[in-house]
Protein backbone atom coordinates (compact mmCIF):
# COMPACT_ATOMS: atom_id res chain seq x y z
CA UNK A 1 0.00 0.00 0.00
CA UNK A 2 1.14 3.53 -0.79
CA UNK A 3 0.59 5.83 2.17
CA UNK A 4 0.49 9.59 1.59
CA UNK A 5 1.14 12.02 4.42
CA UNK A 6 -1.35 14.91 4.53
CA UNK A 7 0.15 18.17 5.72
CA UNK A 8 -2.11 20.68 7.41
CA UNK A 9 -1.63 24.14 8.75
CA UNK A 10 -4.16 25.95 10.92
CA UNK A 11 -6.55 23.05 10.30
CA UNK A 12 -6.40 23.54 6.56
CA UNK A 13 -4.99 20.87 4.28
CA UNK A 14 -2.11 22.26 2.22
CA UNK A 15 -2.23 22.28 -1.53
CA UNK A 16 1.06 20.39 -1.62
CA UNK A 17 -0.78 17.42 -0.12
CA UNK A 18 -3.21 17.25 -3.06
CA UNK A 19 -0.24 16.89 -5.37
CA UNK A 20 1.31 14.27 -3.08
CA UNK A 21 -1.92 12.22 -3.23
CA UNK A 22 -2.09 12.56 -7.03
CA UNK A 23 1.49 11.27 -7.22
CA UNK A 24 0.86 8.51 -4.70
CA UNK A 25 -2.28 7.39 -6.56
CA UNK A 26 -0.41 7.20 -9.87
CA UNK A 27 2.36 5.21 -8.20
CA UNK A 28 -0.14 2.87 -6.51
CA UNK A 29 -1.71 2.18 -9.90
CA UNK A 30 1.71 1.45 -11.36
CA UNK A 31 2.42 -0.98 -8.51
CA UNK A 32 -1.06 -2.52 -8.54
CA UNK A 33 -1.87 -1.52 -4.99
CA UNK A 34 -4.00 1.03 -3.16
CA UNK A 35 -3.29 4.69 -2.34
CA UNK A 36 -4.32 5.70 1.16
CA UNK A 37 -3.79 8.95 3.02
CA UNK A 38 -2.75 9.64 6.59
CA UNK A 39 -4.02 12.75 8.33
CA UNK A 40 -2.83 13.82 11.76
CA UNK A 41 -5.01 16.14 13.79
CA UNK A 42 -8.31 17.76 12.91
CA UNK A 43 -9.10 19.90 9.86
CA UNK A 44 -11.92 22.12 8.65
CA UNK A 45 -11.83 20.58 5.18
CA UNK A 46 -14.11 17.78 4.11
CA UNK A 47 -11.73 14.85 4.52
CA UNK A 48 -13.54 12.45 2.21
CA UNK A 49 -12.86 14.94 -0.61
CA UNK A 50 -9.28 13.69 -0.60
CA UNK A 51 -10.72 10.87 -2.70
CA UNK A 52 -10.86 13.34 -5.59
CA UNK A 53 -7.10 13.18 -5.86
CA UNK A 54 -7.03 9.39 -5.80
CA UNK A 55 -6.93 8.29 -2.14
CA UNK A 56 -9.32 5.38 -1.49
CA UNK A 57 -9.09 5.75 2.28
CA UNK A 58 -8.03 8.42 4.72
CA UNK A 59 -6.66 7.21 8.02
CA UNK A 60 -7.21 9.97 10.50
CA UNK A 61 -5.81 10.37 13.97
CA UNK A 62 -7.95 13.20 15.20
CA UNK A 63 -6.03 14.14 18.30
CA UNK A 64 -5.93 17.93 18.49
CA UNK A 65 -2.46 17.83 20.04
CA UNK A 66 -1.29 16.97 16.52
CA UNK A 67 -2.57 20.24 15.07
CA UNK A 68 0.70 21.82 16.20
CA UNK A 69 3.59 20.49 14.19
CA UNK A 70 6.46 18.87 16.09
CA UNK A 71 8.85 16.95 13.80
CA UNK A 72 9.78 14.42 16.44
CA UNK A 73 6.20 13.67 17.51
CA UNK A 74 4.83 13.63 13.98
CA UNK A 75 7.60 11.34 12.72
CA UNK A 76 6.92 8.92 15.58
CA UNK A 77 3.22 8.80 14.88
CA UNK A 78 3.60 8.48 11.10
CA UNK A 79 6.10 5.62 11.47
CA UNK A 80 3.86 3.80 13.94
CA UNK A 81 0.83 4.23 11.68
CA UNK A 82 2.78 3.08 8.61
CA UNK A 83 3.78 -0.11 10.44
CA UNK A 84 0.26 -0.68 11.68
CA UNK A 85 -1.20 -0.22 8.20
CA UNK A 86 1.53 -2.15 6.41
CA UNK A 87 2.59 0.65 4.07
CA UNK A 88 5.34 -0.23 1.61
CA UNK A 89 5.85 3.20 0.06
CA UNK A 90 5.38 6.51 1.90
CA UNK A 91 4.88 9.78 0.05
CA UNK A 92 5.45 13.26 1.49
CA UNK A 93 5.37 16.71 -0.07
CA UNK A 94 8.90 18.16 -0.08
CA UNK A 95 7.68 21.26 1.74
CA UNK A 96 8.94 22.55 5.08
CA UNK A 97 7.06 20.05 7.23
CA UNK A 98 7.40 17.13 4.81
CA UNK A 99 11.15 17.41 4.64
CA UNK A 100 11.31 17.72 8.43
CA UNK A 101 9.73 14.32 9.03
CA UNK A 102 10.17 12.13 5.94
CA UNK A 103 13.86 11.34 6.71
CA UNK A 104 13.06 10.61 10.38
CA UNK A 105 10.26 8.28 9.32
CA UNK A 106 12.66 6.56 6.92
CA UNK A 107 15.07 5.92 9.82
CA UNK A 108 12.29 4.46 11.95
CA UNK A 109 11.15 2.15 9.14
CA UNK A 110 14.71 1.25 8.03
CA UNK A 111 13.62 2.55 4.65
CA UNK A 112 15.70 4.07 1.89
CA UNK A 113 14.61 7.60 1.02
CA UNK A 114 14.78 9.98 -1.92
CA UNK A 115 13.88 13.58 -1.15
CA UNK A 116 12.91 16.16 -3.77
CA UNK A 117 11.66 13.63 -6.35
CA UNK A 118 10.40 15.15 -9.59
CA UNK A 119 8.88 12.17 -11.44
CA UNK A 120 7.24 8.83 -10.79
CA UNK A 121 9.68 6.04 -9.92
CA UNK A 122 10.82 3.70 -12.65
CA UNK A 123 9.82 0.25 -11.43
CA UNK A 124 10.76 -1.80 -14.51
CA UNK A 125 13.82 -3.19 -12.79
CA UNK A 126 14.13 -2.21 -9.17
CA UNK A 127 12.82 1.08 -7.87
CA UNK A 128 14.56 4.15 -9.26
CA UNK A 129 13.50 7.68 -8.37
CA UNK A 130 14.59 10.81 -10.24
CA UNK A 131 15.26 13.91 -8.17
CA UNK A 132 16.70 17.35 -8.82
CA UNK A 133 20.25 17.92 -7.60
CA UNK A 134 22.66 20.87 -7.66
CA UNK A 135 19.72 23.17 -6.93
CA UNK A 136 17.87 22.24 -10.08
CA UNK A 137 20.89 22.28 -12.39
CA UNK A 138 20.78 18.49 -12.90
CA UNK A 139 18.84 15.32 -12.16
CA UNK A 140 19.96 12.17 -10.37
CA UNK A 141 18.30 8.76 -10.70
CA UNK A 142 18.55 7.00 -7.38
CA UNK A 143 17.76 3.38 -6.68
CA UNK A 144 16.17 2.50 -3.36
CA UNK A 145 17.22 -0.94 -2.16
CA UNK A 146 15.06 -1.47 0.93
CA UNK A 147 11.66 -3.23 1.20
CA UNK A 148 9.97 -0.05 2.50
CA UNK A 149 10.57 3.14 0.55
CA UNK A 150 10.09 6.83 1.36
CA UNK A 151 9.78 9.61 -1.24
CA UNK A 152 9.23 13.33 -0.83
CA UNK A 153 8.15 15.10 -4.00
CA UNK A 154 9.13 18.56 -5.20
CA UNK A 155 6.24 20.95 -5.28
CA UNK A 156 4.68 21.62 -8.69
CA UNK A 157 6.69 18.82 -10.28
CA UNK A 158 3.83 16.36 -10.78
CA UNK A 159 0.72 18.50 -10.65
CA UNK A 160 -2.62 18.03 -8.98
CA UNK A 161 -4.86 15.47 -10.71
CA UNK A 162 -8.54 15.87 -9.89
CA UNK A 163 -11.06 13.05 -10.42
CA UNK A 164 -14.42 12.31 -8.84
CA UNK A 165 -13.67 9.73 -6.14
CA UNK A 166 -14.53 9.95 -2.45
CA UNK A 167 -12.43 8.47 0.30
CA UNK A 168 -13.70 6.51 3.25
CA UNK A 169 -12.47 7.79 6.60
CA UNK A 170 -10.99 5.42 9.13
CA UNK A 171 -9.96 6.50 12.55
CA UNK A 172 -6.78 5.08 13.89
CA UNK A 173 -5.47 5.16 17.36
CA UNK A 174 -1.72 5.32 17.75
CA UNK A 175 -0.13 6.63 20.94
CA UNK A 176 0.88 10.29 20.61
CA UNK A 177 4.03 11.21 22.55
CA UNK A 178 3.92 14.53 24.43
CA UNK A 179 5.50 17.42 22.54
CA UNK A 180 8.45 19.18 24.16
CA UNK A 181 7.87 22.24 22.02
CA UNK A 182 5.72 25.11 23.22
CA UNK A 183 4.67 27.38 20.37
CA UNK A 184 4.72 30.96 21.65
CA UNK A 185 3.87 32.98 18.52
CA UNK A 186 2.92 32.53 14.91
CA UNK A 187 3.52 35.34 12.50
CA UNK A 188 1.84 34.86 9.16
CA UNK A 189 1.45 37.17 6.25
CA UNK A 190 -2.29 37.55 6.15
CA UNK A 191 -4.26 36.86 3.05
CA UNK A 192 -1.26 35.97 0.90
CA UNK A 193 -0.64 32.60 -0.69
CA UNK A 194 2.67 31.32 0.75
CA UNK A 195 5.38 31.66 -1.88
CA UNK A 196 6.05 27.92 -1.93
CA UNK A 197 2.41 27.23 -2.76
CA UNK A 198 1.94 30.02 -5.29
CA UNK A 199 1.12 29.28 -8.93
CA UNK A 200 2.08 32.77 -10.10
CA UNK A 201 5.00 34.77 -8.77
CA UNK A 202 6.16 38.29 -9.59
CA UNK A 203 9.70 39.01 -8.43
CA UNK A 204 11.86 42.12 -8.30
CA UNK A 205 15.61 42.75 -8.17
CA UNK A 206 18.03 45.58 -7.67
CA UNK A 207 16.94 46.98 -11.03
CA UNK A 208 13.92 48.51 -9.30
CA UNK A 209 16.36 50.85 -7.50
CA UNK A 210 14.59 51.10 -4.14
CA UNK A 211 11.68 49.97 -1.97
CA UNK A 212 9.67 53.05 -2.92
CA UNK A 213 9.35 51.67 -6.45
CA UNK A 214 7.72 48.38 -5.48
CA UNK A 215 4.23 49.76 -6.12
CA UNK A 216 4.34 48.90 -9.84
CA UNK A 217 5.37 45.34 -9.00
CA UNK A 218 2.63 44.96 -6.38
CA UNK A 219 0.06 46.28 -8.86
CA UNK A 220 1.17 43.70 -11.41
CA UNK A 221 1.00 40.94 -8.80
CA UNK A 222 -2.47 42.06 -7.80
CA UNK A 223 -3.72 42.10 -11.38
CA UNK A 224 -2.64 38.45 -11.71
CA UNK A 225 -3.43 37.29 -8.18
CA UNK A 226 0.27 36.44 -7.87
CA UNK A 227 2.56 36.23 -4.85
CA UNK A 228 5.66 38.41 -4.66
CA UNK A 229 9.34 37.49 -4.35
CA UNK A 230 12.71 39.20 -4.63
CA UNK A 231 16.42 38.64 -5.19
CA UNK A 232 18.82 38.38 -2.29
CA UNK A 233 20.36 41.89 -2.41
CA UNK A 234 16.83 43.27 -2.21
CA UNK A 235 16.01 41.44 1.01
CA UNK A 236 19.54 42.01 2.36
CA UNK A 237 18.95 45.75 1.96
CA UNK A 238 15.57 45.37 3.70
CA UNK A 239 13.71 46.70 0.69
CA UNK A 240 11.53 43.63 1.01
CA UNK A 241 10.97 41.11 3.85
CA UNK A 242 13.35 38.15 4.14
CA UNK A 243 10.71 35.55 3.48
CA UNK A 244 10.44 36.84 -0.10
CA UNK A 245 14.07 36.02 -0.92
CA UNK A 246 14.29 33.26 -3.48
CA UNK A 247 17.40 31.45 -4.67
CA UNK A 248 20.05 29.07 -3.53
CA UNK A 249 20.17 30.54 -0.03
CA UNK A 250 16.51 31.57 0.04
CA UNK A 251 13.32 29.77 -0.84
CA UNK A 252 13.19 27.44 -3.82
CA UNK A 253 10.01 27.72 -5.81
CA UNK A 254 8.49 26.14 -8.89
CA UNK A 255 5.40 28.14 -9.88
CA UNK A 256 3.66 27.93 -13.25
CA UNK A 257 4.72 31.49 -14.01
CA UNK A 258 7.70 33.45 -12.68
CA UNK A 259 8.06 37.06 -13.81
CA UNK A 260 11.51 38.48 -13.03
CA UNK A 261 11.78 42.26 -13.07
CA UNK A 262 15.18 43.96 -12.89
CA UNK A 263 16.93 40.76 -11.84
CA UNK A 264 20.20 39.90 -13.62
CA UNK A 265 19.79 36.12 -13.34
CA UNK A 266 22.86 35.16 -11.29
CA UNK A 267 23.36 31.41 -11.02
CA UNK A 268 22.47 31.49 -7.31
CA UNK A 269 19.19 33.25 -8.08
CA UNK A 270 18.34 30.80 -10.87
CA UNK A 271 18.91 27.89 -8.48
CA UNK A 272 15.77 28.93 -6.64
CA UNK A 273 13.50 29.52 -9.61
CA UNK A 274 14.70 27.44 -12.57
CA UNK A 275 12.05 24.78 -12.01
CA UNK A 276 9.31 27.31 -12.81
CA UNK A 277 7.21 26.18 -15.76
CA UNK A 278 7.29 29.51 -17.60
CA UNK A 279 9.77 32.32 -16.96
CA UNK A 280 9.27 35.91 -18.16
CA UNK A 281 12.22 38.28 -17.85
CA UNK A 282 11.95 42.06 -17.96
CA UNK A 283 15.37 43.71 -18.04
CA UNK A 284 16.85 46.77 -19.72
CA UNK A 285 20.09 44.94 -20.48
CA UNK A 286 19.69 42.56 -23.45
CA UNK A 287 22.85 40.76 -22.27
CA UNK A 288 21.41 39.95 -18.83
CA UNK A 289 22.08 36.22 -18.19
CA UNK A 290 18.46 35.68 -17.13
CA UNK A 291 17.32 35.84 -20.77
CA UNK A 292 19.14 32.52 -21.38
CA UNK A 293 16.90 30.83 -18.82
CA UNK A 294 13.71 32.61 -19.91
CA UNK A 295 10.78 31.55 -22.08
CA UNK A 296 9.67 35.11 -22.80
CA UNK A 297 11.70 38.27 -22.55
CA UNK A 298 11.07 41.99 -22.76
CA UNK A 299 14.09 44.26 -23.16
CA UNK A 300 13.47 47.70 -21.78
CA UNK A 301 12.82 49.91 -18.80
CA UNK A 302 10.80 48.16 -16.09
CA UNK A 303 9.31 51.45 -14.99
CA UNK A 304 7.50 51.68 -18.34
CA UNK A 305 6.97 48.01 -19.13
CA UNK A 306 5.53 46.82 -15.82
CA UNK A 307 2.62 49.30 -15.65
CA UNK A 308 1.90 48.58 -19.33
CA UNK A 309 1.83 44.85 -18.64
CA UNK A 310 -0.52 45.37 -15.69
CA UNK A 311 -2.82 47.42 -17.90
CA UNK A 312 -2.76 44.75 -20.60
CA UNK A 313 -3.64 42.03 -18.07
CA UNK A 314 -6.52 44.05 -16.63
CA UNK A 315 -7.76 44.77 -20.13
CA UNK A 316 -7.62 41.10 -21.08
CA UNK A 317 -9.44 40.12 -17.88
CA UNK A 318 -12.13 42.71 -18.47
CA UNK A 319 -12.59 41.41 -22.02
CA UNK A 320 -12.79 37.78 -20.99
Amino acid sequence: MVLIYIDQDDQEIKKASFEAISYGAALAKQLGTSAEALLLGTVKDNVSDLGKYGASKVHQLNNIALNNFDASVHANVVAAAAKLLGATVLIFAHNINGRAIAPAVAVKLSAGIVTGACALPNTDTGFVVTKTVFSGKAFASIQIDTPVKVISINQNSFGVVVGDGTATIQHIDTPVPASKIKITATDKIKGEVPLTEANLVVSGGRGLKGPEHWGILLDLAKSLGASTACSRPVSDADWRPHHEHVGQTGIQIAPNLYIAIGISGAIQHLAGVNRSKTIVVINKDPEAPFFKAADYGVVGDAFEIVPALTAAILKSKAGA
Binding site: A71, A79, V107, V133, I189, L200, L257, V281, Y296
Partner: protein, 247 residues
Protein backbone atom coordinates in the same frame (compact mmCIF):
# COMPACT_ATOMS: atom_id res chain seq x y z
CA UNK B 1 27.13 23.86 26.92
CA UNK B 2 28.47 21.57 24.17
CA UNK B 3 27.63 22.24 20.55
CA UNK B 4 28.17 19.91 17.59
CA UNK B 5 28.23 21.62 14.20
CA UNK B 6 27.81 19.39 11.13
CA UNK B 7 30.02 20.55 8.28
CA UNK B 8 29.75 19.31 4.70
CA UNK B 9 31.83 20.02 1.64
CA UNK B 10 30.13 21.21 -1.56
CA UNK B 11 31.18 22.56 -4.93
CA UNK B 12 31.38 26.34 -5.09
CA UNK B 13 28.02 27.87 -6.00
CA UNK B 14 29.32 28.90 -9.42
CA UNK B 15 30.94 25.52 -10.22
CA UNK B 16 30.23 24.07 -13.63
CA UNK B 17 27.98 21.06 -13.21
CA UNK B 18 29.09 18.15 -15.42
CA UNK B 19 29.32 14.38 -15.13
CA UNK B 20 31.79 11.65 -16.14
CA UNK B 21 32.00 7.85 -16.41
CA UNK B 22 28.85 7.53 -18.47
CA UNK B 23 27.04 10.18 -16.41
CA UNK B 24 27.41 8.21 -13.19
CA UNK B 25 29.88 10.48 -11.38
CA UNK B 26 30.05 14.21 -10.69
CA UNK B 27 32.95 15.69 -12.64
CA UNK B 28 35.24 17.16 -9.99
CA UNK B 29 37.66 18.50 -12.58
CA UNK B 30 38.48 22.13 -11.81
CA UNK B 31 35.83 22.33 -9.10
CA UNK B 32 36.51 24.62 -6.15
CA UNK B 33 35.25 23.14 -2.89
CA UNK B 34 33.68 25.21 -0.18
CA UNK B 35 31.98 24.69 3.15
CA UNK B 36 28.28 24.22 2.39
CA UNK B 37 27.03 27.84 2.72
CA UNK B 38 24.26 26.97 5.19
CA UNK B 39 26.77 25.19 7.46
CA UNK B 40 29.27 28.02 7.30
CA UNK B 41 27.18 31.18 7.38
CA UNK B 42 24.38 30.06 9.62
CA UNK B 43 25.24 27.01 11.80
CA UNK B 44 28.91 27.59 12.45
CA UNK B 45 28.72 31.35 12.90
CA UNK B 46 25.73 30.92 15.22
CA UNK B 47 27.77 28.52 17.38
CA UNK B 48 30.64 31.03 17.43
CA UNK B 49 28.27 33.83 18.47
CA UNK B 50 27.01 31.68 21.36
CA UNK B 51 30.59 31.03 22.45
CA UNK B 52 31.42 34.73 22.31
CA UNK B 53 28.57 35.35 24.73
CA UNK B 54 29.53 32.46 26.99
CA UNK B 55 33.19 31.37 26.87
CA UNK B 56 32.20 28.13 28.61
CA UNK B 57 30.64 26.92 25.38
CA UNK B 58 32.55 24.09 23.66
CA UNK B 59 32.20 23.75 19.89
CA UNK B 60 33.00 20.53 18.06
CA UNK B 61 32.82 20.27 14.28
CA UNK B 62 32.05 17.03 12.53
CA UNK B 63 32.34 15.99 8.93
CA UNK B 64 31.80 12.60 7.37
CA UNK B 65 34.09 12.24 4.38
CA UNK B 66 37.45 11.25 2.96
CA UNK B 67 40.77 13.01 3.61
CA UNK B 68 39.87 15.46 0.83
CA UNK B 69 37.44 17.13 3.26
CA UNK B 70 40.28 18.18 5.57
CA UNK B 71 40.96 21.57 3.92
CA UNK B 72 37.27 22.36 4.37
CA UNK B 73 37.21 21.40 8.03
CA UNK B 74 40.42 23.40 8.63
CA UNK B 75 38.75 26.38 7.01
CA UNK B 76 35.79 25.90 9.34
CA UNK B 77 38.16 25.73 12.32
CA UNK B 78 39.71 29.00 11.15
CA UNK B 79 36.33 30.66 11.59
CA UNK B 80 35.97 29.17 15.06
CA UNK B 81 35.31 26.01 17.02
CA UNK B 82 37.52 24.10 19.44
CA UNK B 83 38.15 20.84 17.68
CA UNK B 84 37.03 18.79 14.74
CA UNK B 85 36.17 15.18 14.09
CA UNK B 86 36.32 13.58 10.68
CA UNK B 87 34.63 10.23 10.25
CA UNK B 88 36.54 8.55 7.47
CA UNK B 89 33.64 7.36 5.36
CA UNK B 90 33.32 8.32 1.70
CA UNK B 91 29.79 6.96 1.39
CA UNK B 92 27.47 9.89 0.73
CA UNK B 93 24.14 8.09 1.35
CA UNK B 94 22.34 10.33 3.86
CA UNK B 95 21.38 7.36 6.04
CA UNK B 96 25.05 6.38 6.37
CA UNK B 97 26.18 9.96 7.10
CA UNK B 98 23.44 10.46 9.71
CA UNK B 99 24.28 7.20 11.48
CA UNK B 100 27.96 8.14 11.66
CA UNK B 101 27.11 11.56 13.09
CA UNK B 102 24.64 10.02 15.54
CA UNK B 103 27.30 7.64 16.87
CA UNK B 104 29.64 10.56 17.63
CA UNK B 105 26.78 12.66 19.00
CA UNK B 106 25.74 9.94 21.44
CA UNK B 107 29.23 9.73 22.87
CA UNK B 108 29.70 13.49 23.09
CA UNK B 109 26.41 14.27 24.91
CA UNK B 110 25.86 17.54 23.05
CA UNK B 111 23.24 20.07 24.14
CA UNK B 112 22.87 21.53 20.70
CA UNK B 113 23.42 19.97 17.29
CA UNK B 114 23.41 22.31 14.30
CA UNK B 115 23.10 21.31 10.65
CA UNK B 116 22.53 23.38 7.54
CA UNK B 117 19.10 23.47 5.92
CA UNK B 118 20.44 21.34 3.08
CA UNK B 119 23.60 20.76 1.09
CA UNK B 120 23.68 22.69 -2.16
CA UNK B 121 24.83 19.68 -4.19
CA UNK B 122 22.45 16.82 -3.40
CA UNK B 123 19.79 18.99 -1.75
CA UNK B 124 18.70 16.14 0.50
CA UNK B 125 17.66 18.25 3.50
CA UNK B 126 17.69 15.00 5.46
CA UNK B 127 20.46 14.82 8.04
CA UNK B 128 18.79 16.90 10.80
CA UNK B 129 15.55 14.94 10.57
CA UNK B 130 17.41 11.61 10.55
CA UNK B 131 19.39 12.66 13.64
CA UNK B 132 16.08 13.45 15.34
CA UNK B 133 15.00 9.83 14.89
CA UNK B 134 18.40 8.29 15.62
CA UNK B 135 18.95 10.29 18.82
CA UNK B 136 15.29 10.65 19.82
CA UNK B 137 15.88 14.37 20.31
CA UNK B 138 13.66 17.38 19.53
CA UNK B 139 14.29 18.68 16.01
CA UNK B 140 13.35 22.12 14.75
CA UNK B 141 13.81 22.54 11.01
CA UNK B 142 14.52 25.76 9.09
CA UNK B 143 15.58 27.69 12.18
CA UNK B 144 16.08 31.43 11.63
CA UNK B 145 16.81 32.59 15.20
CA UNK B 146 18.02 31.02 18.43
CA UNK B 147 18.46 32.25 21.97
CA UNK B 148 19.68 30.09 24.84
CA UNK B 149 18.59 30.81 28.37
CA UNK B 150 20.01 28.22 30.76
CA UNK B 151 18.61 24.94 29.48
CA UNK B 152 15.77 26.63 27.62
CA UNK B 153 16.03 27.33 23.90
CA UNK B 154 13.96 30.00 22.19
CA UNK B 155 13.77 29.20 18.52
CA UNK B 156 12.17 30.89 15.57
CA UNK B 157 11.59 28.83 12.44
CA UNK B 158 10.28 29.46 8.98
CA UNK B 159 6.87 27.98 8.21
CA UNK B 160 4.97 28.13 4.91
CA UNK B 161 4.18 31.82 4.51
CA UNK B 162 5.51 33.05 7.84
CA UNK B 163 7.42 32.38 11.04
CA UNK B 164 6.75 30.47 14.23
CA UNK B 165 8.40 31.10 17.61
CA UNK B 166 8.70 28.37 20.16
CA UNK B 167 10.24 27.43 23.45
CA UNK B 168 11.81 24.09 24.20
CA UNK B 169 14.44 22.52 26.42
CA UNK B 170 17.91 21.33 25.49
CA UNK B 171 19.13 19.09 23.98
CA UNK B 172 17.86 20.00 20.52
CA UNK B 173 18.80 19.60 16.88
CA UNK B 174 18.32 22.54 14.52
CA UNK B 175 18.67 22.89 10.78
CA UNK B 176 19.79 26.43 10.13
CA UNK B 177 19.10 28.91 7.38
CA UNK B 178 19.29 32.61 6.62
CA UNK B 179 18.60 34.76 9.66
CA UNK B 180 20.48 32.62 12.20
CA UNK B 181 23.72 34.58 11.86
CA UNK B 182 25.67 36.90 9.59
CA UNK B 183 28.35 35.66 7.23
CA UNK B 184 31.95 36.13 8.50
CA UNK B 185 35.37 35.95 6.91
CA UNK B 186 38.16 34.10 8.74
CA UNK B 187 40.98 36.37 9.95
CA UNK B 188 44.72 35.68 10.05
CA UNK B 189 44.68 34.84 13.76
CA UNK B 190 41.94 32.31 13.22
CA UNK B 191 43.75 30.73 10.28
CA UNK B 192 46.97 30.38 12.34
CA UNK B 193 45.07 29.00 15.33
CA UNK B 194 43.26 26.46 13.16
CA UNK B 195 46.56 24.79 12.25
CA UNK B 196 47.06 23.54 15.77
CA UNK B 197 43.47 22.76 16.70
CA UNK B 198 42.84 19.03 17.12
CA UNK B 199 41.38 17.20 14.12
CA UNK B 200 40.51 13.70 15.16
CA UNK B 201 39.96 11.00 12.55
CA UNK B 202 37.56 8.19 13.37
CA UNK B 203 37.25 5.13 11.14
CA UNK B 204 33.95 4.41 9.37
CA UNK B 205 31.60 2.07 11.16
CA UNK B 206 28.55 2.11 8.89
CA UNK B 207 28.81 0.40 5.53
CA UNK B 208 25.38 -0.56 4.24
CA UNK B 209 23.80 2.16 2.14
CA UNK B 210 20.07 2.12 1.46
CA UNK B 211 20.24 3.96 -1.86
CA UNK B 212 22.55 4.11 -4.88
CA UNK B 213 22.90 6.78 -7.55
CA UNK B 214 22.42 5.15 -10.94
CA UNK B 215 22.95 8.11 -13.24
CA UNK B 216 22.86 11.87 -13.65
CA UNK B 217 21.15 13.86 -16.38
CA UNK B 218 21.26 17.49 -17.41
CA UNK B 219 17.92 19.24 -17.94
CA UNK B 220 16.98 19.72 -21.59
CA UNK B 221 18.13 23.16 -22.73
CA UNK B 222 15.47 25.88 -22.94
CA UNK B 223 14.37 26.26 -26.55
CA UNK B 224 15.43 29.88 -26.49
CA UNK B 225 13.80 33.02 -25.27
CA UNK B 226 10.99 34.56 -27.29
CA UNK B 227 11.41 38.32 -27.21
CA UNK B 228 8.34 40.51 -27.09
CA UNK B 229 8.48 44.18 -28.09
CA UNK B 230 8.42 46.50 -25.07
CA UNK B 231 5.57 48.45 -26.65
CA UNK B 232 3.34 45.41 -27.14
CA UNK B 233 2.32 44.02 -23.77
CA UNK B 234 -0.98 42.80 -25.24
CA UNK B 235 1.10 40.29 -27.20
CA UNK B 236 2.88 39.08 -24.04
CA UNK B 237 -0.47 38.59 -22.32
CA UNK B 238 -1.74 36.68 -25.36
CA UNK B 239 1.33 34.40 -25.35
CA UNK B 240 1.00 33.71 -21.63
CA UNK B 241 -2.66 32.89 -22.09
CA UNK B 242 -2.72 30.99 -25.35
CA UNK B 243 0.77 29.55 -25.79
CA UNK B 244 2.12 29.00 -22.28
CA UNK B 245 -1.40 28.66 -20.82
CA UNK B 246 -0.28 29.89 -17.42
CA UNK B 247 -2.68 32.78 -16.83
Amino acid sequence: MKILVCISKTPDTTAKIAFTEGNTKFDENGVQWIINPYDEWYSLVKAIVLKEKDPGVIIHLITVGGSDTEPIIRKALALGGDEAIRVNNTNTDSMVVAQEIAAIAKEGAYDLILTGKETIDYNSASIGSMLCALLDTTFIPNAIALDINGTTALVKREIDGGEESCETSLPIILSCQKGMAEQRIPNMRGIMAARTKPLKVVEASIHNATTAIKKFDMPPPKSGVKLVDAGNMDELVRLLKEEAKVI
